[in-house]
Subunit: 336 residues, 2 copies
């Protein structure tokens, strides 16, 4: 009878006596990897009540109980570390980045609104907001420092705004710097998501673009979950509210969730959006599956999608008739 | 008959003929200041239908209608600018700073929570959070860079956390830098509020401390509004929810609003808090009035407050009896 243990493979006689053993090297990392693989196999396990530690000493793997226990401790610790590392797969890291990006966006917006209101008392005519305003303030501070070559020079000279005292100026400059730093961070995270998505999910990125692709993965929870979703789910990801309203009440089913931000949909006339959303979702779902199982880029996907969208556009050149006249007609499938 | 105009004082005969005039210099700023003072006086105004522009030319102030109108345009513009500057009084600037501080606090907290979660996958044992964590990550990035002299060295060496790839490391470092920048900003704004409050409202600052004083002004809307509040209002500023619950239903009246954060109250035993809050609010209200009308520091306020609080403590050494036995007694004023 052969049994697998964390330190080697043992050959036992029918009476439970140790006949032969094939021991693994005493390398903690190797042993940990082996332990992880055992966890998945679950065959040739030791019988219940089997004394592993005595067998380890008998087979010559350990010299004493204390050596056996200290090794076991190290190996299990290493195993946990490996498991933690495993849980930070590339898609989980992209999801972290997407969530951080959302936080950054929200905070940058709220702080730049505050900056806008605050600086408005001193230079209301600037016409700047958001990142441009924070960069402007970081650069000049008071509008008195705007040089003649700046396009806002004249406005700054003739501004209605109050004079900015130096204490307030350094405060506002510091605040603007922090806001600029957040906008910088946003660009950095976006660049990270773009480059990660290119390797993590090349097909999804090709069809959806890196940001939309990353958001799909983020809402799904992971790439493998996204790959497991039917395309009808992909189509309405992010439209939870509308979907539940549809399921509960008589509201129409949502035509699109976050994939609405895809240019193929949001630049199309309204009567095509539902059809294109369905075509897009089906290709996105396919792309996620290819990405998850092979990660090879398949350029034909993009071509097929374009072809499909072209056909939809040709088949529906005009908006459909209004419902009013159709009220008497038998119920028809209206929404696709 | 004497009339005040924006360009000078005119002496008119009974028929409305110009007899004499005392003209102001043609200085735009001077004229604007004069116009503002006229706005408040409202006496010796020109009679209705009086032709100001002809009088200006007759008196020799302007050579032509066009000169008159262009000067008038400049002067009114300057007046508006002066009014805008006036509206940014020191207390309004402190209020802006307090509001900015609240925004910064909120965003710094939400971003540092994100950072905590994000970095937790790589170094869960750090035990750091908030500003300390952002400073740590800005400094070292990956836990592999923690030097032996750092107290976290051993934990970093034996961490369960995953290995931090270099792309993720620079992302996390950048994020941590932005968070640190927000914490820096917080300190700067706090320092600004402290120094502004010292000159704006020295008595309020002496009694309440700069931050609580600034918050009181901020919620009141301005220093003069705070000075106009009765002390019972000052006592419950910031306790809107509890106050309206009291007014609507049978809830007890709130004992304190944001003044609860004052050490005299929050370090006192519960049965003294209401009494001390009332004493504190009355002195704070007095302090705000002194600050608004004279801005001279009056050290006796602090002494009086301490004296009053000492008396309250002496008079109420023990918690009051529970209500149960008092139910049959006639209604008494319980809450002070």
């Amino acid at each position: 009878m052969k049994i697998n243990t964390w330190f080697g493979v043992l050959e036992l006689g029918s009476s439970g006596k140790l006949l032969a053993s094939e021991l693994f090297p005493k390398d903690v990392r190797e042993l940990a990897l082996h332990l992880l693989s055992l966890r998945n196999k679950r065959q040739d396990m030791p019988p219940e009540g089997f004394d592993l530690k005595t067998a380890a000493i008998e087979s010559g793997f350990a010299d004493s109980y204390s050596e056996y226990y200290s090794l076991l401790h190290e190996v299990t610790l290493e195993t946990v570390k490996l498991q933690v590392s495993e849980s930070l797969t590339p898609d989980q890291r992209v999801i972290q980045a997407v969530e951080a990006l959302d936080d950054i966006n929200e905070t940058a917006n709220s702080l730049s609104e505050r900056l806008f209101e605050w600086y408005g008392g001193y230079f209301p005519e600037s016409g700047l907001s958001g990142e441009a305003l924070s960069v402007f303030i970081t650069k000049y501070g008071s509008r008195e420092n705007v040089p003649p070559e700046d396009p806002l020079y004249l406005k700054a000279q003739n501004s209605m705004g109050a004079k900015l005292e130096s204490a307030d100026e350094s405060l506002l400059k510091g605040f603007a710097e922090s806001v600029s730093s957040l906008y910088e961070r946003r660009k950095q995270i976006e660049a990270y998501i773009e480059s990660s998505m290119e390797t993590l999910a090349p097909n999804l990125t090709m069809l959806a673009g890196p940001m939309l692709g990353a958001r799909l993965i983020s809402i799904a929870g992971s790439l493998d979950k996204l790959a497991a979703f039917p395309s009808s789910t992909v189509q309405v990801i992010g439209a939870n509210k509308a979907l539940f309203k549809h399921l509960r009440a008589r509201a129409p089913s949502p035509k699109h969730g976050i994939i609405y931000s895809h240019p193929l949909i949001n630049t199309s006339p309204w009567w095509l959006r539902g059809k294109i959303a369905r075509a897009l979702a089906s290709k996105l779902s396919l792309a996620a599956r290819i990405d998850f199982y092979s990660a090879k880029k398949d350029a034909s996907l993009e071509y097929e999608l374009e072809e499909k969208v072209r056909k939809i556009r040709e088949a529906n050149p005009k908006p459909p008739q209004k419902r009013q006249e159709g009220k008497a007609k038998p119920k028809k499938k209206r929404r696709k």
